[in-house]
C-alpha cells in the first residue's frame, strides 16, 4: 500500500509523520505547480471550487509517482467539501487509473467508522497504537502551526531580511527528526527558541492586517500566492484566523489561533446568526474581532463559487461600514494571476497607510488645540 494525499499547507508533514508511525509508505505528491492546476482543470467540473481542481491534480501527480491508495477527508455538509472524495473517485477512475480511495470521515459522523478507516490505513498497528500515533503526530503538527504563527510575528520586524525564513527552515528540520514524545518535547523547546531568537527591531508605526477566509486557500501557499509572507516582508504584522490543527482538531477552543468558536459565534451574531457551513461564520466573526481589536485592515480570501464565503463576502461591507475598517476580498480561481493580486495588495496597503497617517495627524491636531 502506497498512500498519497493532496497538499494543503503543512499537512504533508503531519501525514508523513503519521504514516511513518503506522509503518506504511507515504508518497506526498510533488509540490503544487501550474501543471497540477492544469491537470485539475482539465478533468474537473467547470464551476466546482478551486480546491477540488487543485486536489484532483495532486492526486493524479501522486499516482504518477507510484501511489496506489488515495486518502481524502470527508465531511457532513453543507459545504460541498464533504462530497469531494466521491466526485474525485469518479473523475480519476474515469481516467483509467487503478487506485483505492479511503475517505476519512470526521469523528462526529460515527466513531466506529472512524476507527475502521484508520484500521484500514494502519493494518500493522493495534487500535491503541493508532490512538497514540495520532495523538503524537497531532501535537507535532500543532508545534508546526505555532512556528508558522511565530513566523508571521517575526517577519514583520526582522532586522536581517530573510532571517525568519531561515529560522522556520531550521525549526522544521529539528521537528521533523523528532519521533518519540520526549524527543518531541525537546524539539518543541528548541524550535520555539530558534523562532524567538530572530532579531527584531522596535517599531511603533506598523500596519496590522487580519486574514480571514476559506481554509484551503489560506493554508495552501500556491493558492494564496504566499500572501502572508509577502505582507510580512513589507513590515506588515499579519494575523491569520485559520490554522491546520485548529481546523482538523476536535477542540472548539482553537488553541493556535487563540480564539474559541463560541466567541467567534458571539461576535458574528449581529451580522450572521446561523452557521452556513465551511468558513462562513468564522470569516464574519473573526473580521468583527479584528475590527474590535483595532486592526488596520482585513483581507478575505476564498475560491470562486465557494458558497459559505460568498455569503460572508456579501455581509462584510456592512461590517466595514459599521466599524470603519477597510476590508478587501480576493476571489481566487484558476485565472487569478499573481501580478493582479499584488497590484491590488499594494493599493490596499497604500490606502490603509494613508488612513492611518491622516488619523494620526488628526489626533496630533486635537492635542495641539488642547495645549493652546
Amino acid at each position: 500500500m502506497k498512500i498519497t494525499s493532496p497538499h494543503m499547507g503543512n499537512i504533508y508533514l503531519l501525514l508523513g509523520d503519521l504514516f511513518k508511525r503506522f509503518e506504511v509508505e507515504y508518497i506526498p505528491p510533488p509540490p503544487t505547480t501550474n501543471r497540477t492546476l492544469q491537470l485539475g482543470i482539465r478533468y474537473s467540473p467547470e464551476f466546482a471550487c478551486l480546491p477540488l481542481k487543485v486536489t484532483v491534480g495532486n492526486f493524479i501527480e501522486g499516482i504518477e509517482r507510484g501511489a496506489d491508495t488515495l486518502v481524502m477527508a470527508g465531511g457532513v455538509g453543507p459545504c460541498r467539501f464533504g462530497y469531494y472524495a466521491e466526485v474525485q473517485k469518479r473523475i480519476i477512475g474515469s481516467l483509467g487509473y487503478n487506485f483505492n480511495m479511503i475517505t476519512v470521515e470526521p469523528i462526529g459522523a460515527g466513531l466506529v467508522n472512524f476507527v475502521k478507516t484508520f484500521k484500514k490505513l494502519a493494518p500493522k498497528s493495534s487500535i491503541k497504537e493508532i490512538y497514540k500515533s495520532i495523538k503524537t503526530s497531532f501535537i507535532k503538527a500543532q508545534v508546526f502551526d505555532f512556528v508558522e504563527k511565530k513566523a508571521f510575528e517575526a517577519r514583520a520586524f526582522e532586522i536581517k531580511k530573510g532571517a525568519t525564513n531561515v529560522a522556520v527552515k531550521h525549526a522544521t528540520e529539528i521537528l521533523n527528526s523528532a519521533f518519540t514524545p520526549t524527543e518531541l518535547g525537546e524539539a518543541k523547546a528548541e524550535a520555539f527558541r530558534i523562532m524567538n531568537a530572530v532579531e527584531k527591531k522596535e517599531e511603533e508605526d506598523y500596519l496590522k492586517i487580519g486574514i480571514v477566509g476559506e481554509f484551503f486557500i489560506l493554508l495552501e501557499p500556491f493558492c494564496n500566492f504566499d500572501m502572508c509572507e509577502w505582507l510580512g516582508n513589507r513590515g506588515v504584522l499579519v494575523e491569520r484566523s485559520v490554522y491546520l490543527t485548529d481546523w482538523i482538531g476536535s477542540s472548539k477552543e482553537n488553541p493556535v489561533a487563540g480564539i474559541g468558536e463560541e466567541e467567534i459565534k458571539k461576535a458574528a451574531k449581529p451580522y450572521l446568526s446561523h452557521f452556513v457551513g465551511g468558513e462562513g461564520l468564522p470569516t464574519i466573526g473573526n473580521s468583527v474581532k479584528f475590527a474590535q481589536r483595532g486592526f488596520d485592515g482585513v483581507i478575505q480570501l476564498f475560491p470562486f463559487t465557494c458558497m459559505p464565503d460568498t455569503i460572508a463576502k456579501s455581509i462584510l461591507p456592512k461590517i466595514s461600514r459599521d466599524f470603519d475598517i477597510p476590508i478587501l476580498s480576493f476571489v481566487i480561481d484558476e485565472q487569478t494571476a499573481k501580478a493582479g493580486v499584488i497590484t491590488r495588495l499594494e493599493a490596499f496597503l497604500d490606502l490603509i497607510r494613508a488612513r492611518k497617517n491622516s488619523r494620526f495627524k488628526a489626533k496630533e491636531k486635537v492635542v495641539e488645540t488642547v495645549n493652546c
Binding site: Y83, L272, H274, F304, P308, T310, I311, S314, I315, P317
Partner: protein, 284 residues
C-alpha cells in the same frame, strides 16, 4: 408577492448582489428589491433542513442575513428558522411563532397550517397521477426535466424551456412528479449519502429515469456557480455514461448571459437526435 421574474428584476438583483452568487440568488435579490416599496414585511424563512440528517444549500442558510446586509432601506424581514434536524416539535413551535404575529387564535394557526399542507399534498398527488398516466402513453417523445424547482419553474430563467419543448412536440415530466419512495430507493444506491435534500431529489429522479427508461431523454437544468450542482453534475454524467439504460442526457448550464438562440439550437439538436434513435429502434 413580487411579480414574476423579468429583466428588470434580474438587472436590479445582479446590481446589488455579489458577482460570485449563482443566478437564482441574484434573481432572489431582485425580487426582494421589487417588493421594497410595496409591503410592510418580507417573509424570508431560513430553511436549514427539510429532512432529518440533511441540509439545504448553504445560501438558504444565510439568505436573511445576506438580505439584511444590503445597503438600502428595506421593510422588516421575517425570518423564522426551519430546521427539521432539530425534530418536529421545534418545527411546530416555529409555525406557532410565525402565526402569532398575525393572530392570537391557536385554532386559526393550526387550521391555516393544515389546509396549506392539504393543498400542497393535493398538488403533489395530481403531479404523481399525471406521471403515472404519462407512463402508459408511449406514442410521444418524453423528456425528463431535472433541476432545482426554482430553476425549472421559472420561465424567465429557463427562457420558456417547457413551452419550447412542447412546441417541438415533446412531453416533459419534472422530478417532483416522482413519488418520494422511488427517489429514496435510488439515492440509497450511492456509496456516500448526499447531505443536501433538494439534490437528493434531482439525483434520485435522474437515476430512476436512467435505469427504468420511462423517458426518452433527460435534460438537466443547472445554473452557473451553483455549488451542489457542480458536484452532482459529475455523479449524473458518470451514471448516464455507465448505466445500462443508455438514455441520452444533456446538461444545460444557464447564467445571466445565456442567449435564447444558443438554447434553441441545442434543444433542437437534442430532439433531432432522440428522433433518429427512435427510427433506428423501429428499423432494428
Amino acid at each position: 408577492m413580487s411579480s414574476s421574474t423579468n429583466k428588470s428584476i434580474l438587472n436590479k438583483g445582479s446590481a446589488v448582489s455579489e458577482n460570485e452568487f449563482c443566478l437564482p440568488v441574484k434573481i432572489f435579490y431582485g425580487h426582494v428589491l421589487d417588493l421594497t416599496d410595496k409591503v410592510d414585511f418580507i417573509f424570508i424563512p431560513r430553511v436549514v433542513s427539510v429532512k432529518k440528517g440533511t441540509y439545504t444549500c448553504p445560501k438558504f442558510l444565510g439568505l436573511p442575513d445576506m438580505i439584511k446586509a444590503i445597503d438600502k432601506p428595506l421593510p422588516k424581514i421575517l425570518s423564522p428558522t426551519v430546521n427539521l434536524n432539530l425534530g418536529f416539535k421545534k418545527y411546530y413551535s416555529t409555525i406557532l411563532e410565525v402565526g402569532k404575529l398575525f393572530t392570537q387564535s391557536y385554532f386559526k394557526i393550526g387550521y391555516s397550517y393544515v389546509s396549506a399542507l392539504k393543498e400542497f399534498k393535493n398538488t403533489k398527488l395530481k403531479q404523481e397521477e399525471e406521471w403515472i398516466k404519462s407512463k402508459k402513453e408511449t406514442s410521444e417523445v418524453k423528456i425528463g426535466l431535472v433541476g432545482h424547482d426554482y430553476n425549472i419553474y421559472d420561465s424567465y430563467l429557463t427562457m420558456n424551456l417547457t413551452k419550447r419543448l412542447e412546441a417541438l412536440g415533446v412531453k416533459t415530466v419534472t422530478c417532483d412528479s416522482l413519488p418520494s419512495h422511488l427517489i429514496e430507493k435510488e439515492v440509497s444506491t450511492l456509496p456516500k449519502k448526499l447531505f443536501w435534500s433538494y439534490e437528493e431529489e434531482i439525483v434520485g429522479a435522474a437515476f430512476h429515469w436512467l435505469r427504468d427508461r420511462t423517458v426518452d431523454g433527460i435534460i438537466y437544468v443547472l445554473t452557473f456557480a451553483c455549488g451542489p450542482d457542480s458536484l452532482i453534475q459529475v455523479l449524473l454524467e458518470h451514471e448516464a455514461k455507465n448505466s445500462s439504460g443508455k438514455i441520452p442526457f444533456m446538461s444545460l448550464v444557464i447564467d445571466e448571459h445565456s442567449g435564447e438562440a444558443g438554447l434553441i439550437t441545442r434543444l433542437e439538436a437534442f430532439i433531432d437526435m432522440l428522433g433518429r434513435r427512435e427510427t433506428e429502434k423501429v428499423l432494428v
